[in-house]
Amino acid sequence: MLNGTAEEHGLGRAIVRALHLDLLLLGGVALLLAMGFVVLYSASGEDLDTLYRQGVRVGIAFTVLMVMAQIPANHLRQWSPWVYAGGVLLLLAVMFFGEVGKGAQRWLDLGVVRFQPSEFMKIAVPMMVAWYFADRPLPPRFLEVAAAALLVMVPAVLIAKQPDLGTALLVAGSGLVIIFLAGVRWRILMGLGALALVAAPLLWHFMQDYQRRRVLTLLNPESDPLGAGYHIIQSKIAIGSGGFYGKGWLNGTQSQLEFLPERSTDFIFAVYAEEFGLMGILLLLSLYLLVILRGLTIALRAQDTYSRLLAGSLSFTFFVYVFVNTGMVSGLLPVVGVPLPLFSYGGTSMVTLMAAFGILMSINSHRRLLAR
C-alpha cells in the first residue's frame, strides 16, 4: 500500500492541500503554460491581443481545474453513465444540427457558447469505461472487453465522421488504454492487435480524401511540396534549422516570416524548436514527462479501481497529445489536428486538459475522505 507522503509544512502547502491541489503537477503545468505564453508571443508575431485571449482561456481553464479538484472521485463515478450518455447524445446532435467550420461539423451552438462535444468526450469516455470496470473482477473477460471496446468505439466513430481524426484518436486512446490498464490478457490484446491490422484497409476505405492524402504525404512529403506536403516540409525546415541551440527567441525566420503554417496552433512546437533548439526541446520533453509520470504516480496511489483507471487514462491521454503533436510536427506521424497541450493557442482543448488535471488532483487529494 502506498502511503500518503503529503507535505506537512508551510502555509503555501497548507493552502494547496486545502484546495485539493497537487504541487508537483501544478508546478509542471504552470511552467509549461508560462513557456507556452513565451512561445505564443513569438509565434503570433508579437501580438499581445493573442496573448490576452489565451490568458483569458487559461483563467477559465484554471477555474475549471479548481472546481474539478474539489469534486471527489466517487461523485464522478456515479455521474459517469449520465455524462457519457449525454455526451453521445450531443455528438448525435452535432451530426444533425451542428455548425460547419473548416469543412468539418464539430460545433454545437448553445446560444451563449459554441461547444465541441467531441472535446467533452475526452473525459466522458474514460469515465464511462472506468465506471464499467470499477465493480467487475479484473482482469476482464473477453465479452467485457468487447463491451468496453464498443463503449469506446461508438463515440470515436461518431467523432471520426465529423471528421475529426485527431480527437477521435485521442478519445479512442483514452478508452482503450483503460482496457489495457484493467489487465486485459495479453492474448486478447494480441487478438485485438491482429484485428486492427485487418481493419486497417477498411479504415482506409472510410477515410476522407484529405485524411488519406495526409497519410500519403507523411510517406513522401516532397510529392506535393506546395499542397498537402507544405506544412510538413516547412515545419521540418523550421525544426532542423533551429539546430542545437536554436535561433533565439523571436528570431525564428521560418515562423516570423510566415513560412510555417498554423504556427500559433498545431505547429507551435516547430516554432519552439526553431527558436530554442534541441536544448529547449529536451527541457520541454522533460517537463511533459514529469507531468505524465506524476499523473501515473497518482494513478498508482489511487485507492479504488475507478480512480486508478481514470487517472491512468487521463495521464495517458495527455501523453498521446504530446506524442501525436510532436510526432506530426517532426514528420514521424501523419498530420492530424492535435494541439500541443498547454502550448497551442485555442480554447476548448485547454479547458478539457485542465479539467483532467483537476480530476487527477482530486483523485490524489480526496483519498482520505474515501471510505475503504
Partner: protein, 617 residues
Amino acid sequence: MSSRQPIKNHHQEQRLFLARIITLGVIIVLLFGLVGVRLTQLQVINHSHFSTLSQNNRVRLEALPPPRGLIYDRNGVVLAENRPTYQLEVTLEQVDNLQDTLDRLSALLDLEPAEIDRFRRSLRGKRPFQAVPLKLNLTDEELANFAVNRHLFPGVDVQAGVARHYPHGEALAHVIGYVGRIDERELARIDTRRYAGTTHIGKLGVERYYEDHLHGHVGFQKVEVNAQGRTLRVLEREPPVPGRDLVLSLDVRLQAVAQEALDGMAGAIVAMDPRNGEVLAMVSMPTFDPNLFVHGIPARTFQELRNNRRQPLFNRALSGQYPPGSTLKMLVGLAGLEHGVIRADRMMFAAGYYTLPNDTRRYRDWRRHGHGWVDLDKAITQSSDVYFYDMSFRLGIDRMSEFLGRFGVGEATGIDSTGERRGLLPSREWKRAAQGMPWFPGETLITSIGQGYMLATPMQLASISSTLAMRGQRVRPHLLRGMLGEDGEELHVAEPEFLAPVQVSRAEFWDQVLTPMEHVMHRPNGTAYHSAGRDAPYRIAGKTGTSQVFGLGQDEEYDEASVAKHLRDHALFIGFAPADDPRIAVAVLVENGGSGGRVAAPVARKVMDYFILEMTP
C-alpha cells in the same frame, strides 16, 4: 461499494495494475525517446541541410532594373526621357470574383479585349501574390476615374513606373528610333541576367545602336520575404548602374527647320559638319510618332502605318537607295582629271545627244538641244550629260568605279544608327557576279550621270558632299557627340573617326570641280541659281540632280491613281556652305519631286540659311 463483487481480489488487481502502469510508463518513455531521437536527427545530424533550406526560404534575389540613359541634342535639349507612368495591376489572390471585376473595370476604363487576353495569359505562371499588369499607361482621366472608384475593386491597384517618352515625337522618330517590349527574338539574343526586371529594349535607331550604353547595369537586392512573397526588408543591395546619357550632335532646331522644309513631301535631308562628321540634322519624311511603339502599338494603328503608301515607317535617310543622278558629276570629273582623260580648260561641243562609235543608239542630254561648247566648269554648272558621256567613255567603267569607290559610293558610311543600306557601285565584277552578264559600254555612260545601276542613300550623298567640302578628307558621319560621365556632368566627346582620304595628284583638281559647284548656285546659268542660290548672302557650293525612277526596282504597288506622281523623277541636291570655309554639308532627296534644281535645292537652302544665319557657330 466494491463489496458487491465478492470475487474481486483487490491485491491481485493492484499488482496487475502496477505491472500495467509500469508497462505503460516504459512505453511512454520509449516513445518520448523516439521523439527525442527524431529531433536530434533533424536538429543536429541534418541541421546544415535544413539551415540551407531555411536561408533559401526567406531570402529572395530581386533585380533592380537600371534607369535608361537619357538622350540630349547638342544643346542639351532632351530628346528621349523617362516619364512616370501608371499601370493597373491585379493581385489575383485578393480579388473575389475576377470576371465580375474585369467586367466592371471594362465599363470604367475602356479595356480592350486584347488587353484582357494578354492579362489572362500572364496570369499563368505567376508567383503567389504577384501583381499582374492589366492595363498599361493609364491616361490622367483613367487614373482619376479609377482612383475615385478604387474601393470597389479589392486586389486592383495602380502601380507607378517609368516609361520612355520622346518629347519631340515625329521629328526624330527615324534618328532616335524607339524602345519597345522585349520580344522573343531579342530574348534569345540578350543576356537575360543583365535585362532582369527590364521590359523594354531599343528597337531602332540610336536607341538600338547604343542599347548597350543606354541600358546600364542591373542591380540586385536580397530581400527577406514571407511565405506570401511580401517583402519585409532589404538585407543587401547592389544598386543598378544607370544607363549612360547620350548627347547627340543633332540640333533639334535645325532638325525642325529641315522637317518644315520637306513639309508635304516624301524625302530625306541629312546635314552634317564636314570637319568632324557630326550629323546636325537627319530627317526622313513622312514620319510617325515613336511614342506609339513604347507601350505596344495597337494592331490597327500599326497596320495603317505599314500599309500607308507613303511609307512613314521607312527611314529614307539611311535605308532609301536612289540613283544619285547628276549629284556625283564632280566625282566623275575628278576621276577624269586624275586619270588625264580631260583637262579643265579643254572645251568640247555638247550636242543634244551622244552616240558611241559603231552604234546608232542616242544617249540624250537632259537639255534637248545640248549645251554647246562646254568646259568642265560649264559642264558642272549646267550639268551637261553629253560632256560626261564622252569623258566616261574614255575613262572606262573600271577606273570610274574605282575612283567613286574612294568616296565611299556603294559602301555603308557606318553611321551609328540602324537600318543603313550600302547603295550600289556598279562595276564589271559586280555585274558579272550579280547578273552573270558582261559590262556594256553604254552602261558606263549611264553610270557617269548617276543612273543605271548606281544607287546611293541620302546619308552617303551627305558624306560625299562632306568629303568634297574638305577636299578629300573623309570622316565617318556619326550621331553621337559624346556621353555624359557617370556623374551626369562631364561630357566625353567622341573623337571624330577619319577615314582614308581621297587623294589626287594635283591640288588644283579640287578647285576645278569645286568652283563650278559655286557657279551652280551663284551664276545665272547655274542649275540652282534661280531657285536657291541667287540671293544667298553667303557662298554655297552645290550640285543638283534629277534621277529617273522609271525602270528601277522600287517595290511599290502599282496604283492607277498615283501613277503620274509615282513615275516622276526624284529631285536631289548635295552641297556645302560657306563655300570657302565649309561648316555644313547637306544632301537632300525629294522622292518624285521632279527637278533637283527647282525642288531639292531650295530645301537645302532653307537648312543652310538657318544654320549659317540663325545659329551661332
